[in-house]
């Protein structure tokens, strides 16, 4: 497959995530849309690493390809740590306001 189809797919997933963050008011769904955007970026990184694997430089130096995939692995590690803290914050928000609507967060300014 050409790289352009992977660019189109990852970009479409990323923009669906952006539209979800901008239009939904539920904090959990906004958080899931952020996860969707992270996964779109991961997919594009892997696709670019496999694109470089097909070139002469990639064949001569295979560590270039595995470096990109280890980078994706560390993105997943950081995302897992982020989810645990983020869900704890959402549970805390629900415990204080009995809702996960982010409009209630405007009382943070007082």
């Amino acid at each position: 497959m050409e790289i352009k189809w992977y660019i189109g797919l990852a970009l479409a997933l990323f923009c669906i995530g952006i539209v979800g963050v901008l239009t939904r008011r539920n904090a959990i769904i906004i958080f899931m849309c952020v996860e969707l955007m992270l996964n779109a970026v991961n997919l594009l990184l892997v696709a670019f690493s496999k694109m470089h694997a097909a070139t002469d430089a990639g064949r001569a130096m295979p560590s270039m390809v595995s470096d990109a995939q280890i980078f994706v692995f560390f993105i997943m590690v950081v995302a897992a740590a982020e989810v645990s803290v983020g869900l704890a914050i959402i549970v805390m928000l629900y415990r204080n306001t009995h809702s996960t609507d982010i409009n209630f967060l405007n009382r943070l300014k007082n």
Binding site: M1, E2, I3, K4, W5, Y6, I7, G8, L9, L11, A12, L13, C15, I18, V19, G20, L22, T23, R24, R25, N26, I28, I29, F31, M32, C33, L36, N39, N42, L43, V46, A47, K50, M51, A53, A54, T55, V65, D67, Q69, I70, V72, F73, F74, M76, V77, A80, A81, E82, V83, S84, V85, L87, A88, V91, M92, Y94, S99, T100, D101
Partner: protein, 166 residues
């Protein structure tokens, strides 16, 4: 059109359709289930590109751990009948338009680059296998690997401290 292309388009349509369900579903439980389908189809894309380690890690970490955590929190809060009170149609329309504009602009910019038609290596190449990635991870990247364990410890302490009743 070979089997690889058919699988690619099937997984692409599945990922995009379930991603749209994630954004548009009324109930949070349905959007979590749709997000699990999206993650499985992205794992299928990894397998098509012979990045098997990332495919397995994606299924275990995202579909296995993170989404179960989401589902657990939603079930705990009993949000099934949660209604979104302030439905501002104009803001939703503006969000849709701006997301679509970003999509079109970046897509046009990438399509005009001369890299757009270079081929992606499918079904071959052993850089993504567990053996090679494990060697790279524990030789060249052992310091970041250990530092990420400290990150997990601090995330765990933070989650316990935030979630604790004072």
């Amino acid at each position: 059109m070979g089997i690889t292309q058919i699988l690619f388009w099937f997984l692409t349509v599945l990922a995009l359709a379930s991603a749209i369900v994630v954004v548009t579903a009324k109930s949070p439980v349905y959007s979590i289930l749709a997000l699990i389908v999206t993650f499985f189809s992205i794992s299928g894309h990894y397998i098509l590109m012979n990045a098997q380690f990332l495919a397995i890690v994606n299924i275990i970490v995202y579909a296995g751990a993170i989404m179960v955590l989401f589902l657990f929190v939603v079930m705990l809060m009993n949000l099934n009948a949660a209604s979104e009170p302030s439905k501002n149609r104009i803001l939703q329309f503006i969000g849709l338009i701006s997301g679509g504009c970003l999509f079109l602009v970046i897509l046009a910019a990438f399509m005009r680059s001369d890299l757009a038609n270079s081929m992606v290596q499918m079904n071959e190449g052993n850089a993504g296998l567990i053996k090679n990635l494990g060697k790279a991870l524990f030789n060249d990247y052992v310091i970041p690997f250990e530092i990420s364990s400290v990150l997990f410890l601090s995330a765990m302490i933070g989650a316990v401290l935030i979630g604790k009743k004072e």
